[in-house]
């Protein structure tokens, strides 16, 4: 099978508001950053794939405006998913595997600031039984967190009890890690004990358990084989990638587990060798604990040194950023084998897992 690697990654600074720029104006510097990193012009890219969501923008076909930023005229070979950019990356990866392209540009972006994100996200739910109740995204995550706290076998991968302090510890660790991430929206944290003095937002979740709402963009360049070696000193080879999803009705799922993550990880080859780094797309603290268990991540694995989605969660981009952060760690020699995970939908509805590796230098 063809070897395909992530050879460049870029992201915007993630911010609560970005009214002074349109989507394409927010995105374009990121596109230029990744193209400059590999020394390619837009017209030297074989395939372009993007992820975004009209419901965030409040406009139909909003992605077409963003396409201006890649120089899409005369028409380029291009595709779009109404999903997180991690799934756009998956599509581009299959194109490269099939030998239809040597290089691909993948980008995604989301501006949550124009709307009320908690309301907007209700529109992705079952339109017959669920969406008419307008259950907001934080409330649904809180149902999952409570289920985890209630579970009799409430133990994470380190066999410690899952309680609200364990959730706060995830928040504190993530946001302290984000102090080294210049793009993060929320950085720094009081210790977990202090966080527990805050009031609940939607019990059992406090504000620190929830991701910041913000605007941002990200992009990666993929390349195959020797092209990847030419463009990047240490390509982040995609050894495997898979995505799976849960049944859509929340009431038929065991919310404390994520079988789709485990299956995707298995299919991606995640369990064939230990990883030294994992970038998990866990917008809510409780979700990190669920993912750690499904992925069997122990003490030896650095989880979300970027701060993860608790430090910046630009919709449609935060999953792609996990793949990008994991790849960037391999590029700079900070990791040799990394797991990257992206999620979509309520309560870890859909999950993607990729295994990335660098050559031994």
């Amino acid at each position: 099978m063809r070897e395909v690697a992530i050879v460049a990654f870029g992201q915007s600074d993630h911010r609560r508001e970005s009214a002074e720029v349109s989507e394409v104006e927010m995105l374009m510097p990121v596109l230029h950053e990744v193209l400059d990193a590999v020394g390619l012009r837009a017209d030297e890219i074989d395939f372009t794939c993007s992820g975004s969501c009209d419901y965030l923008a409040g406009r139909a076909f909003s992605f077409t405006m963003a396409l201006d930023g890649v120089g899409a005229w005369p028409p380029i070979s291009e595709s779009h998913v109404e999903m997180d950019g991690a799934w756009a990356l998956y599509e581009a990866w299959t194109r490269l595997l099939a030998g239809e392209a040597e290089t691909a540009l993948v980008y995604s972006y989301g501006k949550s600031s124009p709307g009320d994100l908690r309301e907007v996200l209700t529109r992705q739910l079952d339109p017959y039984y669920v969406a008419p109740l307008w259950p907001d995204s934080v409330s649904l995550a809180a149902l999952q967190a409570q289920a985890l706290l209630d579970a009799e076998d409430a133990e994470d991968a380190e066999d410690t009890v899952v309680d609200e302090r364990a959730l706060a510890a995830v928040a504190a660790r993530s946001r302290i890690a984000a102090e080294d991430n210049p793009h993060a929206q929320v950085t720094g944290s009081p210790p977990p004990e202090a966080l527990l003095e805050d009031p609940y937002l939607v019990r059992p979740l406090r504000r620190h358990d929830c991701p910041p709402v913000g605007d941002g963009a990200a992009a990666v360049v993929l390349a195959a084989g020797d092209t990847a070696r030419r463009l990047c000193r240490r390509p982040a080879w995609i050894r495997g990638m898979d995505h799976r999803m849960e049944a859509h009705s929340l009431g038929v799922r065991d919310l404390t587990r994520s079988p789709s993550t485990r299956l995707a990880a298995e299919r991606a080859g995640a369990f064939e060798a230990p990883a030294d780094l994992a970038e998990l797309h866990a917008p809510f603290t409780s979700q990190e604990l669920i993912l750690r268990r499904e992925l069997g991540l122990g003490e030896g694995v650095r989880v979300n040194p970027s701060g993860g989605a608790l430090a910046a969660n630009p919709m449609m981009a935060a999953g792609l950023i996990r793949l990008g952060e994991a790849a960037a760690a391999i590029h700079r020699g900070a990791a040799d084998r990394a797991l990257a995970h992206a999620t979509s939908g309520p309560c870890l509805q859909q999950n993607l897992v990729a295994v990335l590796e660098g050559d031994v230098l």
Partner: protein, 319 residues
């Protein structure tokens, strides 16, 4: 070249509202019709589990399901979350708990609201029952919410034909989302200038094309257009159509002409209505200028300037 001034950010409210009309399959139709008569239906899977709310296909095996059963209006909370600040459209307008409830006789849980006095009155495992809406139409909101219940447990699910008189075959699900739209840097500059009756395009630094209206990027070169160029006010009709359909909320007599107009100095044509001339006399090459109505931020329409028609060669690249 005019250096781009830092624009004040333009923002405007934008409401997106759709009454989604959705048809129902046989299982969903029976379930929602049942709610109208205070009957709660689930569906039995081929391996004997009872799914409530019922679905048309088994989420595990993908088997088509049709074996309807009636379950109890009482059940057990399987997880909950306290919502201290109800939002628009949610089942209750006072603080409540979101709950997943497994009704007696069912194997899966339904998402809904629980009316409780406070978070300390809610726990996983607590017993609840349906509080029915006073007026029921065949929708999930026929369940007003759940309420605490300490009566007897309901029994096993019992077979149900799913047949009702006057079954519900569809739902209308209104959806409204409120946005604050911000057009960004380039379009803010354009709209601000337009409000002063000046049309400013933006030039691509790479291919030199002038975009009107500017969107912030040159779609050919993929770079920002940040050099502002005043264009027009006059322009040339490059192509047009005659509109015979009256638009709702638009006070314009039909037929009228809608045209592509290349403003002088612009690298592409914009859209505009052509007035001040009988519709059947509008032609390619017609020279036009904008007409501003009192206090308007944009031209109402374009009218003939009286100049000779433009030569085809001057606009053939702008069609």
């Amino acid at each position: 070249m005019t250096p781009a001034p830092s624009p004040e950010v333009l923002q405007a409210p934008l409401v997106v509202e759709f009454p989604f009309t959705r048809s129902l399959g046989p299982v969903q139709s029976a379930f929602l019709t049942g709610l109208r008569t205070r009957t709660v239906l689930g569906v039995r899977t081929t391996d004997g589990r009872v799914l409530m709310p019922p679905v048309e296909y088994d989420p595990v095996t993908a088997d088509e399901l049709s074996d309807l059963v009636e379950v109890a209006p009482t059940g057990t909370v399987t997880t909950w979350a306290w919502n201290p600040a109800p939002r628009r459209g949610q089942p209750l307008d006072t603080p409540f708990a979101w709950v997943l409830v497994r009704l007696d006789g069912a194997d899966t849980a339904l998402l809904h609201a629980l009316d409780a006095s406070g978070p300390d009155a809610v726990r996983t495992g607590m017993r609840v029952r349906i509080r029915w809406a006073g007026e029921r139409v065949g929708a999930i909101t026929d369940i007003a919410c759940f309420e605490p219940y300490d009566g007897a447990e309901g029994g096993e699910a019992v077979p149900h034909s799913g047949e009702f008189t006057d079954p519900v075959t569809g739902i209308v699900a209104p959806a409204r989302l409120d946005y604050t739209y911000a057009p960004g840097r380039a379009q803010s500059r354009y709209l601000k200038a337009l409000a002063d009756h000046t049309t400013r395009g933006e030039r691509c630094p790479s291919c030199r094309k002038v975009y009107v209206p500017p969107r912030g990027a040159c779609p050919t070169c993929g770079v920002a257009t940040d050099e502002q160029v005043e264009v027009g006010p006059r322009g040339t009709v490059t192509t047009f159509c005659i509109v015979n359909i009256k638009a709702r909320n638009l006070d314009i007599e039909v037929p009228y002409v809608y045209a592509h107009i290349a403003l002088d100095g612009a690298g592409l044509a914009l859209h505009g209505r052509v007035g001040g001339i009988p519709y059947d006399q509008v032609r390619m090459g017609l020279r036009v200028e904008p007409v501003w109505s009192e206090g308007s931020r944009y031209p109402d329409h374009y009218r003939p300037t009286g100049e000779p028609d433009a030569d085809y060669d001057t606009y053939k690249e702008l069609l």
